[in-house]
Every structure is written in C-alpha cells, then in structure tokens.
Symmetry: C2
C-alpha cells in the first residue's frame, strides 16, 4: 500500500491533481491500482501479455504477387458446418481466393459473411488483398476480433489447390469478426497457409505515448 494521496502531496509539494496524474500514469502501465475508500496499492505488472499485428495475408507474407478469385457462392450455414457460429436462418456469402507468392500458390482464404440482400458484394473489391477489411469498415467501432492459429490437415479442396499431399499438415488461421455488443458473428475468415510460409512474432507491449493526451 502506498502512502495516502494527502501525505504524498505534502511529501512532493505538489497539488492533488498533479499527484493524481502521476499515479494515473503508473496505473495505466499496470504498476499500481487503487481501491476507493482504502488506498493505492502496488501491483506487479503482467509481463505475460504479448501483442502482434495481423491484418491480412500481405502483412504475413513478405511478397504477395497475385491473388486469384476462385469463387463467390451463397450457402447456408448448416451446409458448411457453421451452424455453431452463424445463425441457422442466415444465408452466407462465401468468397474463396488463392494467394500466390513467387509464382507459388501458398495459401487459400475463405471469407464467410452473412448475406444481406440489399448490400451486394461489390465485385471491384473482391480482388483486394483484404476483403474482410472492407466489411469491417462498415461497422467502424462496433466490432471485436479473435484469431485462432493451429496446424491441422486441410479439406481436400484446399490441399488440391495448394498441391499438397492429402494429409500434409497446414497452418489454419481463423479470424472472427464479432459485434462488440451482442457477440454476433459478422465475418469468418479462414486462411489455410503452407506451414513453411508462416510464422508469428509477438512482443510484450511498449507504451507508445506520443501524441497522447494526459
């Protein structure tokens, strides 16, 4: 437990607000926390949280030189075994794309997103490296996202496209975009990528306080 704020004010000859701003900085970095009516307390900051950036294939693969649209279809969730993710009643737009690096097909990306009648899939955007970003922008601040990374065997359709042996293990990166409020799924992106072509680097966060307001 730290000394009380009034004691610290005297000790450092600063005003209450200034002292609290200082404590606030320590608090933001996880070094202290406060309990109203009791006091401020020291806390060991959690150094086991890692961060990484992940937007689309091109951020993972140094060189993406071509993206080929394989198909755009409308399907029902149950057909895809996605009833546990999407509502059964919804129809899904599914976009399959094949990603090339150095003239080698290295990844297949599947994007599932609920089909909403009066919002057609804009053809022009399908060849963008990051189609799911287009969807994301529509919802602006109201989303949260999850990614899951694992290694498994891919469906035969995928292994064919990537010219792999039937049971060759492959990276499977699953990204879900969810409505922040009600957790409803907005988009599911599955990226199957050859295991040699992917690795993840994550770092302990460093507080970048440039341009922040205090």
């Amino acid at each position: 437990m730290l000394k009380s704020e009034s004691e610290l004010m005297k000790e450092y000859n600063v005003s209450r607000m200034t002292l609290r701003k200082s404590l606030s900085l320590l608090s933001n970095e996880g070094y202290i926390y406060s309990v109203p009516g009791k006091g401020n307390f020291v806390r060991q900051p959690d150094t086991d949280i890692y961060q990484f950036r992940f937007d689309d294939v091109s951020s993972i693969i140094p060189q993406v030189d071509d993206i080929k649209l394989l198909s755009v279809t409308i399907e029902s969730p149950s057909h895809e075994g996605l009833d546990n993710i999407f509502l059964k009643s919804e129809q899904l737009v599914r976009i399959d794309r094949l990603i090339y690096s150095n003239n080698e097909a290295i990844a297949v990306e599947l994007v599932y997103t609920p089909y909403i009648p009066n919002r057609p899939v804009v053809e022009d955007k399908l060849n963008f490296a990051n189609y799911s970003k287009v969807i994301e922008m529509k919802y602006a601040f109201a989303i949260k996202k999850e990614v899951q990374i694992r290694v498994s065997t891919a469906p035969q359709y995928i292994t064919k496209k990537l010219i792999l042996k039937k049971d060759d293990p492959i990276f499977c990166i699953e990204k879900r975009i969810l409505n922040k409020e009600n957790n409803n799924p907005l988009t599911l992106c599955i990226l199957y990528i050859k295991k040699e072509h992917f690795h993840l680097t994550a770092k302990t966060p460093e507080d970048d306080q440039s341009k922040k307001i205090f």
Copy 2:
C-alpha cells in the same frame, strides 16, 4: 479536427480539466490524438492488434501431469549456434525438460540463460513448470519479451524424445527475454511441442478499466 478545447468547455459547460480528462480517455483508446499548438484530431483506432497470454507450458496445455528434467549443462554460445543471440564470451546454462500430458511426452523445453558464477542454478526450482519465470523475477521491471511461433522440423535429439518420425513437422515456440534498456538477451526458451497439442487464440484488446486511476 475537433473544436478547440475552449470551445468545447463552453459547449459542454465544464472546466478545462474535466474536458481534458474526457479527451484523455478518448486518446487512451486510440480515437483521438493531439498536436500541441494545433489541436485535437480524430483517428481511426487500430483494430488489427491482437493480444494473448503466454506464460509457460501449463498455460497452453490443459493438462500437464509431469515434467522430467533431462539435463543441466554449461555450454558456449558458439557450440549451440547461438552466437548471434548471446555474447560469444558468455557461458550458457542450458536446461532441458520433457513435458508429459496424459502420460504422453508432448513437448521438450530448452532454456538457455547466461551462466553467472555466483548465482548457482537452484536445483529445487528446476522442476517448476516455469523455470524461466524464476529468472524473470530477478530482473523485475527491466525486461521485455518476444515470442516467435513457427512450424519446422526439430533436431533429431528432440524428435527422439517425443517419438516422432525424423522429419515430422513440429511447433517451435521461441521466447526471448531481453533487457529493456540495452536489448541484451537474458534468457532464451525454446519449446518444441507436438503440432496436435498446441493452438493459439488471440483477441483484440478490451480496455479493462477496473481499479484504474483517472
């Protein structure tokens, strides 16, 4: 660009400090930033940052039922091909451990840490699930960490311990603990883990503001 702070004060009938606290909250969440002498500006928050927790094997594997100490040796970095990480002059302590889950050997962990004469490796701690944590605690707040996750073939020594075929791909999770100030390496942990037994889930961060000081 937002209205100036003095305008906003009038508009909302609040004092300068109160207004700035509000702006500070928006700033901390990435929605705005400020440029001294010019003004406050809107910014699209970065939604491509993901976070995950990673401390040790037991946080990844639901059930770790045994950890077997394989060896503790002192080696030189060049012998291990680690000259690019550690200083050539340093001697390294290397600790090898084998991790069991459901009576199956599923992972091997190698921990390399500089050998410092008057700080003997405490035998009691070697069987802790998380030995690198012990090292980390000594440096308290002065560290940063990095993890890299990839799939590759392991050294033969590893594949033998895990009873894998020679070229079976395996997850390789490399954690580096670095001195925050000078980037000097303090510890290198390499975890080889069977590909079926590992997957990573990461999420867009949610600001937990409980107990924070504002």
